[in-house]
Amino acid sequence: MIEALFAILIFPGFVFLSAISMFAEYFDRKLYARLQNRVGPPWYQPLADFIKLLAKHEVVPEEADKNMFKMAPIFALAATVTAFLYIPLWRTNALYFFQGDLVVILYLLTLPTMTFFLGGWYSRSIYATIGAIRSITQLFAYEIPLLLAILAPALLANTWSLSGIVAYYNQHPYYWLINSIAFFVSIIALMGKLERVPFDSPEAETEIVAGSFTEYSGRFLAYFRMAIDCEVVVGASLIAAIFMPFGFNTLPFIAFIIYLLKIFFIISLLALFRTVFARLRIDQMIIFCWRWVAPVAFAQILINLILKGTVLH
């Protein structure tokens, strides 16, 4: 009992995730700044921002639905942290796993976007409403390609359990190289999920101020930002587990280091894309996802099915 609570709340659960996501935000901002020829923030900046926001007075708009407005950030954070418990990090088994947990993880990772929508919609501000609608429109563009991209490796491994997938690829080294196309599809989908440049039109500063988060301040904004930071790490861990399933069969400490290297590699890819692209309009984003990303993901599924029926039989 106590061991389980320790695992869920402290390590590798909530506290560990919070710490690593703060560091991930610092890493992302620093790398982004260095790529732009700027100095960038000091290492404690995300923590300082978080503490400052906690101490600030929060304003809830008069017209807003108070309960929905206040609960949205907490739901976002809770869903992300829960999803983390089902992802294998540096062992082939996650903290908790069962047949079909892959669907649960994807479902839990959809929840933050839903809360962005609900929080924005119920704050009744015109900018937040437009941002909320854009969030949900974008959800339809990236969610299907993400699902397809994750389906392909699962088909090959013949299991719906994430831990099962990792165990399969651990037994069959180098099979994960087959899924390289799906890896890039899932990176693109993750950029859409995290609403980062070039897919940040839901919170495009120059058009709709801060999108869904326009009316958020103080504590609630701090929770939202923390949820997004955690989502970066959880998303990166998910992609690392599925598409880079190697380095588990060593000492736990070395496996842990390998895990960190993997997620920071993915985070640096995200920072790199953030640096080199301009923001796409929401219509361009949807056309891009449906015309290019989704067919490519289908191609990966086709490749995996053919391989499964022939060579890897």
Partner: protein, 401 residues
């Protein structure tokens, strides 16, 4: 004003909004993401500069008018003193004209680099902003060294310029221009190759040649619509008549075209600066100007980085002008904004507005006063205003003699 009328959502962009660096207001009626109609309203930053000019001497006016704009300050002060010099019949020494040209072109570099960065920021390409503004520092440092200030240079004086330029300084300028030219070539490459940037700029904010003519667009906005008009070329002032350069124009008609025009102008500017420094004539840098300017009137034109700047000055033989009228280039271009936004998306609004390189504070000469309760237009003349203010203070116990 209600937020939702019929089926359209009406969203306010401005007077306070992250996309706008200056107060102005766009009221946008949206259907989904599409813009149905747009109302532009200026007049939030009326500073009474023209009136202020009438109460100051010519030399004071020059400094006041320089502060119309923080970016093209040299454009306004030069445009004004050109008119004054014409009325006074002053022959400005050639060396002074060359130095004015030099500062004007350095200013153009800093304005165009600034624009490129702002355009990048408006389409969410912050990396471009950081790079161009870093390089802009080079030219800002040069301006500070030449004139003593980063903006509002104060190098002009009636009859010439106030500071001479040394060989040492011209060497440093040449070196800096080489660096900037390399960087500009890189930005041209980025503009031609970066797919997301092209997607956001190409085909957006279209303004046909006829519309540009009809709406009176000026500067890079007009030149990108195929109107090859540049005051420097077509009505040369300062030293431009003696220099070899071409007016850059383009027929893309959209924001992509405006980007190409501005980047092309930067390349021309580097060549102009090299020619100016090579052919810099010897001689005095200023002639003595009288304090009282004889009665007369003059119109002066200047190709500011944003387009044609126009000043009208009327003198009456005293130390102060009788009337000064300023038409900043943004006023000419504002008309085109609603045309450019027809049938476009909300996401295009910031970049379309930014693409004319607006300077709303420079433009604001009009203030509209509407009483919200009665809807009446209450305007007071000078005497009424004076009586009103005296009464206002009297009611609070402060008596005026």
């Amino acid at each position: 004003m209600s937020i939702i009328d019929d089926e359209n959502v009406r969203i306010p962009i401005g007077p306070q909004h992250p996309a706008l660096k200056e107060p102005t207001s766009f009221s946008v009626a949206l259907r989904g993401e599409k813009i149905e109609s747009i109302q532009v309203k200026i007049g939030y930053n009326h500073r009474g500069i023209e009136k202020g000019c009438e109460q100051r001497t010519y030399i004071q006016d020059m400094y006041l008018l320089e502060r119309i704009c923080g970016i093209c300050s040299h454009a306004h002060s030069t445009c004004f003193i050109q008119a004054v010099e014409e009325i006074a019949g002053l022959v400005v020494p050639r060396r002074a004209l060359y130095i004015r040209t030099l500062v004007g072109e350095l200013e153009r570099i800093h304005s165009h680099l600034l624009w490129l960065g702002v355009a990048g920021h408006e389409v969410g390409f912050d990396t471009l902003l950081m790079y161009t503004w870093r390089d802009r520092e080079i030219v800002m440092d040069l301006l500070a060294e030449l004139t003593g200030n980063r903006v509002n240079y104060g190098i002009n004086t009636i009859g010439g310029v106030r500071r001479d330029i040394t060989t040492d300084q011209s060497q440093r300028i040449l070196k800096a221009v080489d660096v900037l030219e390399e960087q500009t070539k890189y930005y041209i490459q980025v503009a031609f190759e970066e797919t997301t940037l092209i997607q956001r700029l190409s085909g957006v904010g279209t303004l046909s040649r006829d519309d540009a003519m009809r709406l009176g667009a000026v500067g890079p906005t007009a030149r990108a619509s195929g109107i090859n008009f540049d005051v420097r070329k077509d009505d040369p002032y300062a030293a431009y008549g003696e220099l070899d350069f071409k007016a850059v124009s383009d027929d893309h008609n959209d924001i992509y075209g405006r980007t190409i025009v501005r980047l092309g102008e930067l390349m021309e500017t580097y060549s102009i600066i090299r020619q100016v420094l090579k052919n810099l004539p010897d001689g005095p840098i200023a002639v003595r100007a009288p304090r009282r300017i004889p009665a007369g009137e003059a119109v002066s034109r200047y190709e500011a980085p944003r387009g044609e700047d126009l000043h009208y000055v009327k003198s009456n033989g005293t130390e102060n002008p009788e009337r000064v009228k300023v038409r900043a280039p943004t006023l000419a271009n504002t008309q085109a904004i609603s045309k450019m936004l027809e049938d476009r998306y909300l996401a295009d609004l910031p970049i379309v507005v930014a693409a004319i390189d607006p300077c709303f504070s420079c433009t604001d000469r009009a203030a509209e006063i509407i009483n919200l309760d009665s809807g009446k237009n209450n305007i007071m003349n000078w005497d009424q205003l004076r009586t009103y203010s005296i009464d206002w203070y009297k009611n609070r116990g402060i008596a005026f003699k």
